[in-house]
Protein backbone atom coordinates (compact mmCIF):
# COMPACT_ATOMS: atom_id res chain seq x y z
CA UNK A 1 0.00 0.00 0.00
CA UNK A 2 2.87 2.35 0.82
CA UNK A 3 3.72 2.33 -2.91
CA UNK A 4 0.44 3.98 -3.73
CA UNK A 5 1.06 7.01 -1.59
CA UNK A 6 1.60 10.19 -3.55
CA UNK A 7 4.98 11.87 -3.40
CA UNK A 8 5.07 15.52 -2.37
CA UNK A 9 5.55 16.51 -6.00
CA UNK A 10 2.66 14.36 -7.23
CA UNK A 11 0.43 15.61 -4.44
CA UNK A 12 1.25 19.20 -5.31
CA UNK A 13 0.51 18.60 -9.00
CA UNK A 14 -2.74 16.86 -8.15
CA UNK A 15 -3.91 19.57 -5.77
CA UNK A 16 -3.19 22.33 -8.24
CA UNK A 17 -5.04 20.44 -10.97
CA UNK A 18 -8.11 19.56 -8.95
CA UNK A 19 -8.29 23.04 -7.42
CA UNK A 20 -8.21 24.57 -10.88
CA UNK A 21 -10.94 22.24 -12.04
CA UNK A 22 -13.19 22.88 -9.07
CA UNK A 23 -12.80 26.62 -9.25
CA UNK A 24 -13.29 26.73 -13.01
CA UNK A 25 -16.43 24.67 -12.70
CA UNK A 26 -17.80 26.83 -9.89
CA UNK A 27 -17.19 30.02 -11.82
CA UNK A 28 -18.79 28.67 -14.98
CA UNK A 29 -21.78 27.42 -13.02
CA UNK A 30 -22.20 30.81 -11.33
CA UNK A 31 -22.10 32.60 -14.68
CA UNK A 32 -24.65 30.22 -16.22
CA UNK A 33 -26.93 30.43 -13.20
CA UNK A 34 -26.78 34.22 -13.03
CA UNK A 35 -27.04 34.73 -16.78
CA UNK A 36 -29.72 32.24 -17.72
CA UNK A 37 -30.82 30.26 -14.67
CA UNK A 38 -29.21 27.09 -15.99
CA UNK A 39 -27.07 24.64 -14.04
CA UNK A 40 -23.93 23.16 -15.54
CA UNK A 41 -25.84 19.90 -15.98
CA UNK A 42 -28.69 21.70 -17.78
CA UNK A 43 -26.21 23.34 -20.10
CA UNK A 44 -24.49 20.03 -20.81
CA UNK A 45 -27.77 18.42 -21.90
CA UNK A 46 -28.88 21.41 -23.98
CA UNK A 47 -25.49 21.63 -25.63
CA UNK A 48 -25.28 17.92 -26.48
CA UNK A 49 -28.81 17.86 -27.88
CA UNK A 50 -28.34 21.04 -29.89
CA UNK A 51 -25.29 19.46 -31.56
CA UNK A 52 -27.26 16.35 -32.52
CA UNK A 53 -29.33 16.08 -35.73
CA UNK A 54 -32.80 17.55 -35.14
CA UNK A 55 -31.87 18.24 -31.50
CA UNK A 56 -32.57 14.58 -30.76
CA UNK A 57 -30.58 11.76 -29.17
CA UNK A 58 -31.26 8.36 -27.70
CA UNK A 59 -31.39 8.81 -23.93
CA UNK A 60 -28.85 6.00 -23.69
CA UNK A 61 -26.42 7.84 -26.00
CA UNK A 62 -26.98 11.09 -24.14
CA UNK A 63 -26.04 9.38 -20.87
CA UNK A 64 -22.85 8.03 -22.39
CA UNK A 65 -21.95 11.42 -23.84
CA UNK A 66 -22.57 13.20 -20.53
CA UNK A 67 -20.94 10.42 -18.48
CA UNK A 68 -23.91 10.12 -16.19
CA UNK A 69 -25.42 7.12 -14.57
CA UNK A 70 -28.94 6.16 -15.49
CA UNK A 71 -30.60 7.53 -12.35
CA UNK A 72 -28.81 10.88 -12.51
CA UNK A 73 -29.75 11.25 -16.16
CA UNK A 74 -33.34 10.27 -15.44
CA UNK A 75 -33.71 12.92 -12.71
CA UNK A 76 -31.98 15.54 -14.82
CA UNK A 77 -34.28 14.92 -17.81
CA UNK A 78 -37.31 14.85 -15.53
CA UNK A 79 -36.46 18.27 -14.10
CA UNK A 80 -35.70 19.70 -17.53
CA UNK A 81 -38.94 18.20 -18.83
CA UNK A 82 -40.88 19.90 -16.05
CA UNK A 83 -39.37 23.21 -17.14
CA UNK A 84 -40.30 22.54 -20.76
CA UNK A 85 -36.70 22.38 -22.00
CA UNK A 86 -36.74 18.81 -23.30
CA UNK A 87 -39.26 16.15 -24.23
CA UNK A 88 -38.83 12.43 -23.97
CA UNK A 89 -40.36 10.44 -26.81
CA UNK A 90 -40.66 6.71 -27.15
CA UNK A 91 -38.91 5.63 -30.31
CA UNK A 92 -39.51 2.15 -31.67
CA UNK A 93 -40.24 -0.64 -29.23
CA UNK A 94 -37.39 -0.11 -26.79
CA UNK A 95 -35.64 3.20 -27.29
CA UNK A 96 -36.44 6.57 -25.77
CA UNK A 97 -35.28 9.81 -27.38
CA UNK A 98 -34.56 13.07 -25.63
CA UNK A 99 -35.58 16.00 -27.83
CA UNK A 100 -34.99 19.73 -27.50
CA UNK A 101 -38.22 21.70 -27.34
CA UNK A 102 -38.64 25.19 -28.79
CA UNK A 103 -38.04 26.51 -25.26
CA UNK A 104 -34.92 24.36 -25.03
CA UNK A 105 -33.57 25.74 -28.32
CA UNK A 106 -34.25 29.27 -27.15
CA UNK A 107 -32.50 28.60 -23.83
CA UNK A 108 -29.31 27.27 -25.40
CA UNK A 109 -29.25 30.01 -28.03
CA UNK A 110 -29.56 32.60 -25.33
CA UNK A 111 -27.00 31.04 -22.99
CA UNK A 112 -24.33 29.91 -25.45
CA UNK A 113 -22.65 33.24 -26.35
CA UNK A 114 -22.02 34.37 -22.79
CA UNK A 115 -20.97 30.88 -21.75
CA UNK A 116 -18.46 30.79 -24.63
CA UNK A 117 -17.24 34.23 -23.59
CA UNK A 118 -16.70 32.97 -20.04
CA UNK A 119 -14.90 29.81 -21.24
CA UNK A 120 -12.66 32.04 -23.35
CA UNK A 121 -12.05 34.47 -20.51
CA UNK A 122 -11.41 31.90 -17.78
CA UNK A 123 -9.64 29.19 -19.71
CA UNK A 124 -8.86 29.54 -23.43
CA UNK A 125 -7.31 33.02 -23.28
CA UNK A 126 -5.21 32.21 -20.22
CA UNK A 127 -3.10 29.86 -22.33
CA UNK A 128 -1.26 30.38 -25.59
CA UNK A 129 -2.57 28.32 -28.54
CA UNK A 130 0.37 25.92 -28.03
CA UNK A 131 -0.31 25.62 -24.30
CA UNK A 132 -3.99 25.01 -24.96
CA UNK A 133 -3.12 22.20 -27.37
CA UNK A 134 -0.70 20.80 -24.82
CA UNK A 135 -3.32 20.87 -22.09
CA UNK A 136 -5.85 19.16 -24.33
CA UNK A 137 -3.34 16.50 -25.34
CA UNK A 138 -2.56 15.65 -21.73
CA UNK A 139 -6.25 15.72 -20.83
CA UNK A 140 -6.89 13.36 -23.72
CA UNK A 141 -4.36 10.84 -22.42
CA UNK A 142 -6.08 10.79 -19.03
CA UNK A 143 -9.52 10.77 -20.63
CA UNK A 144 -8.81 7.79 -22.84
CA UNK A 145 -8.10 5.65 -19.79
CA UNK A 146 -11.11 7.02 -17.89
CA UNK A 147 -13.44 6.16 -20.75
CA UNK A 148 -12.27 2.61 -21.09
CA UNK A 149 -12.43 2.08 -17.30
CA UNK A 150 -15.22 0.21 -15.50
Amino acid sequence: MADDRLTERELQAWRTSIRMLELLRTRLEQQLQAGSGLSFADYTVLSLLSDAPDGRMRVYELGKAANWEKSRLHHQLKRMGDRGLVDRERCGSRGVDAVLTTTGWAAIEEAAPSHAREVRHLFVNRLSPEQLDQFAELADIVLEHLETGP
Copy 2:
Protein backbone atom coordinates in the same frame (compact mmCIF):
# COMPACT_ATOMS: atom_id res chain seq x y z
CA MET B 1 -19.47 39.46 -29.65
CA ALA B 2 -18.51 37.36 -32.66
CA ASP B 3 -14.88 37.68 -31.50
CA ASP B 4 -15.67 35.72 -28.37
CA ARG B 5 -16.84 32.66 -30.22
CA LEU B 6 -14.56 29.68 -29.85
CA THR B 7 -12.78 28.37 -32.92
CA GLU B 8 -13.22 24.71 -33.77
CA ARG B 9 -9.77 23.99 -32.34
CA GLU B 10 -10.44 25.87 -29.13
CA LEU B 11 -13.80 24.22 -28.73
CA GLN B 12 -12.27 20.81 -29.21
CA ALA B 13 -9.55 21.55 -26.64
CA TRP B 14 -12.13 22.87 -24.19
CA ARG B 15 -14.45 19.92 -24.60
CA THR B 16 -11.69 17.39 -24.11
CA SER B 17 -10.46 19.23 -21.02
CA ILE B 18 -13.82 19.67 -19.34
CA ARG B 19 -14.87 16.13 -20.17
CA MET B 20 -11.73 14.76 -18.62
CA LEU B 21 -12.18 16.90 -15.52
CA GLU B 22 -15.84 15.97 -15.11
CA LEU B 23 -15.26 12.27 -15.61
CA LEU B 24 -12.29 12.26 -13.25
CA ARG B 25 -14.35 13.97 -10.59
CA THR B 26 -17.26 11.56 -11.03
CA ARG B 27 -15.02 8.53 -10.74
CA LEU B 28 -13.29 9.86 -7.64
CA GLU B 29 -16.63 10.70 -6.06
CA GLN B 30 -17.94 7.21 -6.79
CA GLN B 31 -14.88 5.62 -5.24
CA LEU B 32 -15.12 7.79 -2.11
CA GLN B 33 -18.82 7.16 -1.76
CA ALA B 34 -18.51 3.42 -2.21
CA GLY B 35 -15.40 3.08 -0.06
CA SER B 36 -16.22 5.32 2.86
CA GLY B 37 -19.61 6.99 2.33
CA LEU B 38 -17.98 10.39 1.86
CA SER B 39 -18.80 12.94 -0.82
CA PHE B 40 -16.06 14.82 -2.62
CA ALA B 41 -17.01 17.88 -0.55
CA ASP B 42 -16.75 15.89 2.70
CA TYR B 43 -13.33 14.67 1.70
CA THR B 44 -12.21 18.18 0.81
CA VAL B 45 -13.12 19.48 4.27
CA LEU B 46 -11.61 16.50 6.11
CA SER B 47 -8.44 16.75 4.06
CA LEU B 48 -8.00 20.50 4.57
CA LEU B 49 -8.62 20.25 8.32
CA SER B 50 -6.33 17.25 8.76
CA ASP B 51 -3.52 19.24 7.11
CA ALA B 52 -4.04 22.18 9.50
CA PRO B 53 -2.39 22.39 12.94
CA ASP B 54 -4.53 20.52 15.49
CA GLY B 55 -7.08 19.75 12.76
CA ARG B 56 -8.45 23.25 13.23
CA MET B 57 -9.08 26.18 10.87
CA ARG B 58 -11.02 29.39 10.91
CA VAL B 59 -14.25 28.74 9.02
CA TYR B 60 -13.44 31.76 6.90
CA GLU B 61 -10.05 30.34 5.92
CA LEU B 62 -11.59 26.95 5.23
CA GLY B 63 -14.06 28.57 2.84
CA LYS B 64 -11.27 30.34 1.00
CA ALA B 65 -9.21 27.15 0.77
CA ALA B 66 -12.16 25.13 -0.53
CA ASN B 67 -13.35 27.94 -2.83
CA TRP B 68 -16.86 27.80 -1.46
CA GLU B 69 -19.31 30.53 -0.85
CA LYS B 70 -20.47 31.16 2.70
CA SER B 71 -23.84 29.44 2.38
CA ARG B 72 -22.44 26.33 0.73
CA LEU B 73 -19.78 26.07 3.41
CA HIS B 74 -22.34 26.59 6.15
CA HIS B 75 -24.58 23.78 4.88
CA GLN B 76 -21.61 21.49 4.35
CA LEU B 77 -20.31 22.02 7.90
CA LYS B 78 -23.82 21.62 9.30
CA ARG B 79 -24.23 18.25 7.59
CA MET B 80 -20.78 17.11 8.66
CA GLY B 81 -21.50 18.33 12.19
CA ASP B 82 -24.69 16.25 12.26
CA ARG B 83 -22.64 13.20 11.35
CA GLY B 84 -20.11 13.97 14.07
CA LEU B 85 -17.21 14.59 11.66
CA VAL B 86 -16.50 18.21 12.60
CA ASP B 87 -17.27 20.61 15.42
CA ARG B 88 -17.67 24.34 15.14
CA GLU B 89 -16.24 26.29 18.06
CA ARG B 90 -16.49 29.97 18.74
CA CYS B 91 -13.02 31.41 18.96
CA GLY B 92 -12.53 34.87 20.42
CA SER B 93 -15.24 37.44 19.94
CA ARG B 94 -15.83 37.09 16.21
CA GLY B 95 -14.17 34.02 14.75
CA VAL B 96 -15.51 30.50 14.43
CA ASP B 97 -13.20 27.51 14.06
CA ALA B 98 -14.00 24.25 12.33
CA VAL B 99 -12.34 21.36 14.15
CA LEU B 100 -11.93 17.70 13.24
CA THR B 101 -13.52 15.39 15.79
CA THR B 102 -12.15 11.97 16.68
CA THR B 103 -14.70 10.53 14.25
CA GLY B 104 -13.51 12.98 11.60
CA TRP B 105 -9.88 11.95 12.08
CA ALA B 106 -10.86 8.29 11.83
CA ALA B 107 -12.85 8.97 8.65
CA ILE B 108 -10.01 10.72 6.84
CA GLU B 109 -7.47 8.16 7.98
CA GLU B 110 -9.65 5.39 6.68
CA ALA B 111 -10.49 7.09 3.38
CA ALA B 112 -7.14 8.63 2.46
CA PRO B 113 -5.17 5.56 1.31
CA SER B 114 -7.75 4.31 -1.17
CA HIS B 115 -8.45 7.83 -2.38
CA ALA B 116 -4.72 8.35 -3.02
CA ARG B 117 -4.63 5.01 -4.80
CA GLU B 118 -7.48 6.09 -7.05
CA VAL B 119 -5.87 9.49 -7.76
CA ARG B 120 -2.70 7.65 -8.71
CA HIS B 121 -4.52 5.12 -10.85
CA LEU B 122 -6.80 7.56 -12.69
CA PHE B 123 -4.52 10.57 -13.01
CA VAL B 124 -0.94 10.53 -11.75
CA ASN B 125 0.12 7.24 -13.34
CA ARG B 126 -1.47 8.06 -16.68
CA LEU B 127 1.14 10.76 -17.25
CA SER B 128 4.93 10.66 -17.15
CA PRO B 129 6.52 12.76 -14.36
CA GLU B 130 7.33 15.42 -16.98
CA GLN B 131 3.78 15.39 -18.35
CA LEU B 132 2.38 15.64 -14.83
CA ASP B 133 4.56 18.68 -14.13
CA GLN B 134 3.48 20.18 -17.45
CA PHE B 135 -0.17 19.63 -16.65
CA ALA B 136 0.22 21.19 -13.21
CA GLU B 137 2.08 24.19 -14.66
CA LEU B 138 -0.70 24.86 -17.15
CA ALA B 139 -3.36 24.33 -14.49
CA ASP B 140 -1.48 26.78 -12.28
CA ILE B 141 -1.55 29.49 -14.97
CA VAL B 142 -5.32 29.13 -15.27
CA LEU B 143 -5.73 28.89 -11.50
CA GLU B 144 -3.79 32.06 -10.79
CA HIS B 145 -6.24 34.08 -12.85
CA LEU B 146 -9.25 32.31 -11.34
CA GLU B 147 -8.08 33.08 -7.83
CA THR B 148 -7.59 36.75 -8.47
CA GLY B 149 -10.95 37.02 -10.25
CA PRO B 150 -14.09 38.52 -8.72
